[in-house]
């Protein structure tokens, strides 16, 4: 019974969400409870009958799936209801009293022609209230039409009684005409007798003809009236049943009860079978186990009212226990079924607001997960956990944690790709991480870091090129860490940087060595140490400074050596050799002097090895 109710409610929900379009739900793999038999041809409401699966709260219709408690229409209506004040005005109370009175008057306990008439009069009163939406008017119209139809049938019955009298009269007349006595005897001649008989038969037929013809006409009229009566009654029943079905689908269960009780009052022939389509009939037969009747709808409406009442009671109890998730679900379910029932409409707003806050946060959580804002989602989960002790965080947290983990993995890969200069992988991984968790704070951080790193890298490369063109190798040495990192992706620059660092190693080594030699008072040796390097790296300022300082300290040696070199340049071999020898005398270990002497010796004695 409950399943059938849910199915029928699903049908009504389908009408509600008709314009919304399907929400993407993981329903294709979800099991369907009692899948409906596909209709042979597409109809106004699609190919299939709607079905609701209470197991997963999915409503399936025409190949599409909706979560009954998680769609925009439901959320909007439910939130609107939770925010609305309870219907406790005098008008609404009066309306409830009238409806209650109508139901009481139509109750089988008090059912009579008088009570039906009184109930009929109350319908127009009930329809004066806005909450009724003039449904009682529609109901009154249907009852009145049925009564009119019943009156017409009565008149047809009376007409048939008159026709029946006439038929009987014509039958008697016809019999009299056929049995009229012969006053003349037939002739004895055989031929003459035959002609006489024929003439008598002709006379009899002529006498009977008007009666027979009229009799046939009367019979036809009687049959025609009987057919009209049956058709009129059937049509009236179908119209009335359609109205009951419509009220049921609109979840106006009190009106359904009123309508079914009027139906029984109007059509007293005991025929309560619903004239619905083949598919619906088969569906009812399969789910309810019997052909649908007006009583079926009556029972379903009663069941729905009871179910809603229990739902509201459960809500109030669960709220007291601070189990807001279950409470909100129960109230949501009760609202879906009994949106117009007094138990729902009269629930105080203060009680509803407890569910409202939870529902808003829950809806926000669903939205946050849908848009993949897992930071907000996690925050909401914690809020919901603190506000509702029965909140089940397993599903949202599983989604959040999974997304976070996968996003972090992609970001780690992106970082590695950035370090190794793999731009394609970097872009792919960043894109994947963005798709999984677009508002991941780490994403912006990593992206910023990568882009900042790229900027720093580009700036470092520009600086490196500039310093290289200026032969400012010392500055390159001082910023070598920056340039090593920046040139990692550029082999040509890497090669240049390696050469610069190697050269600077030589320069620094020479400066350190000269410093050590100078500490022992051997300024000529110290000078020679830096002089050898400075010939190769004449642009290094520090080297030049050290060299200049040592030139002052070893002035005589330097002057002697330089004079020797100048003389050598002027091809003053004798003089140059003399100066080199003098320099060697001043600093016997001088390599420059020795080289100069050796060089000039070879000039003097070319054959000498």
């Amino acid at each position: 019974m409950k399943l059938t109710l849910a199915v029928l409610l699903g049908m009504s929900s389908a009408l509600c969400v008709w314009a919304q379009g399907p929400e993407p739900q993981p329903a294709p793999a979800a099991p369907r409870a009692n899948p409906p038999t596909p209709a042979s041809s597409p109809g106004f409401l699609g190919k299939d009958l709607p079905a609701f699966n209470p197991g997963n709260e999915l409503f399936t219709w025409d190949g599409k799936n909706w979560s009954i408690s998680n769609n925009r229409v439901f959320e909007a209506r439910f939130e609107k209801y939770l925010n609305a004040p309870e219907e406790s005005s005098e008008d609404e109370k009066k309306y409830r009293r009238i409806i209650r009175e109508i139901l009481d008057k139509l109750s089988p306990k008090t059912f009579s022609t008088k009570s039906v008439d009184e109930a009929f009069r109350l319908l127009s009163k009930a329809s004066d209230f806005e909450i009724d939406a003039h449904l009682c008017d529609s109901l009154g119209d249907a009852v009145y039409s049925a009564w009119r139809a019943m009156d017409a049938n009565q008149r047809l019955a009376q007409a048939n009684e008159g026709l029946e009298q006439e038929r009987k009269q014509h039958e008697w007349n016809s019999q009299m005409a056929a049995n009229e006595d012969h006053v003349e005897a037939p002739p004895h001649n055989k031929d003459a007798a035959a002609a006489w008989n024929k003439e008598q038969q002709l006379k009899r037929d002529t006498r009977m003809h008007p009666y027979v013809t009229r009799l046939a006409e009367v019979m036809a009229l009687i049959k025609s009236n009987q057919l009209k009566k049956e058709l009129s009654e059937l049509q009236t029943k179908i119209e009335f049943q359609a109205l009951i079905m419509q009220l049921f689908l609109q979840r106006r269960f009190e009106h359904v009860l009123i309508a079914t009780r009027f139906y029984r009052g109007v059509f007293g022939d005991g025929d309560t079978q619903l004239r619905v389509g083949k598919d619906a009939k088969s569906f009812f037969a399969r789910t309810a186990g019997a052909p649908p009747t007006v009583s079926t709808l009556d029972a379903l409406a009663n069941e729905a009212i009871r179910d809603v009442r229990e739902g509201v009671q459960a809500y109030e109890f669960l709220v007291e226990k601070n189990e807001l998730e279950s409470a909100s679900k129960r109230l949501g379910e009760a609202f879906v079924v009994g949106e117009y029932l007094p138990e729902i409409r009269t629930l105080p707003r203060e009680k509803k607001r407890l569910a409202l806050e939870f529902t808003q946060q829950a809806n926000q959580l669903v939205s946050a997960i849908e848009v993949k804002d897992y930071t907000l989602a996690e925050k909401l989960v914690h809020q919901l956990e603190s506000s509702a002790k029965d909140f089940d965080n397993s599903k949202p947290m599983a989604a959040i944690e999974t997304a976070k983990t996968v996003s972090a993995m992609h970001l780690a890969k992106a970082r590695n790709a950035a370090v190794s200069g793999d731009k394609t992988t970097l872009e792919d991984e960043l894109k994947a991480a963005t798709e999984i968790w677009p508002r991941n704070p780490a994403l912006a951080q990593v992206s910023g870091l990568i882009f900042k790193q790229a900027d720093v890298q580009q700036q470092a490369l520009v600086d490196f090129d500039q310093l290289l063109s200026q032969h400012n190798y010392r500055q390159i040495l001082e910023n070598r860490v920056r340039f090593i990192a920046a040139s990692a992706l550029y082999p040509d620059r890497q090669e240049k940087l390696a050469k610069v660092l190697h050269d600077m190693e030589i320069i620094e080594g020479a400066i350190i060595r000269s410093s050590e030699i100078a500490k022992h008072g051997d300024y000529a040796g110290a000078w020679e140490t830096v002089e050898k390097v400075s010939r190769q790296f004449s642009d290094d300022s520090k080297l030049n400074q050290v060299r200049a300082d040592l030139t002052t300290e070893a002035a005589e040696f330097v002057r002697t050596l330089r004079t020797a070199q100048q003389m050598e340049e002027r091809d003053q071999v004798g003089s140059s050799l003399g100066w080199y020898l003098k320099a060697q005398k001043i600093y016997p270990a001088s390599e420059f002097a020795k080289e100069g002497v050796d060089r000039l010796t070879k000039k003097v004695m070319p054959t000498e090895g």
Binding site: M567, D571, Q572, V573, G574, S575, L577, G578, W579, L581, K582, Q584, K585, V597, L600, T601, K603, V604, M605, T607, E608
Partner: protein, 132 residues
């Protein structure tokens, strides 16, 4: 008591004798020295001028008093190239001793009188040498 005759030399005579002796020794030394310099007629090499521009002295013959410092090179055909420490001034020079003097034993620290000519590219070519 009879007055004794004064027998001691007059001091002026003693001073004069000393002066004569000194001059005699100095003159003897100078004579000895001059007589010992075989190239006393030659002009000593102006080492400073040579070092400033050796080429400008090409073709001139000079004498040089120097001590052998080191052997720079040796060739059986061309001879030997030595570095010498000029006695006066402490400058160093290179002298080319041709092969014709190969029989002369030249060692580091030996002092020689060189008769030499400023040759091609200012090279000092030894023409003769005498050990001091």
């Amino acid at each position: 008591m009879p007055r004794r005759a004064n027998s001691s030399a007059h001091p002026l005579w003693i001073i004069g004798a000393i002066v004569v002796l000194i001059f005699s020794i100095g003159g003897g030394y100078f004579f000895f020295k001059t007589a010992n310099d075989p190239y006393r007629t030659l002009t000593p090499l102006d080492v400073h001028a040579y070092l400033e521009n050796s080429n400008s002295l090409r073709g001139n013959v000079y004498k040089l008093d120097a001590t052998v410092a080191d052997s720079l090179a040796w060739s059986p055909v061309a001879g030997r190239l030595y570095s010498v420490d000029v006695t006066s001034g402490g400058d160093m020079l290179a002298v080319m001793i041709p092969a014709q003097f190969n029989q002369i034993n030249i060692q580091k620290g030996q002092r020689f009188y060189f008769r030499l000519e400023v040759g091609e590219r200012g090279i000092l070519q030894v023409k003769d040498l005498k050990k001091v």
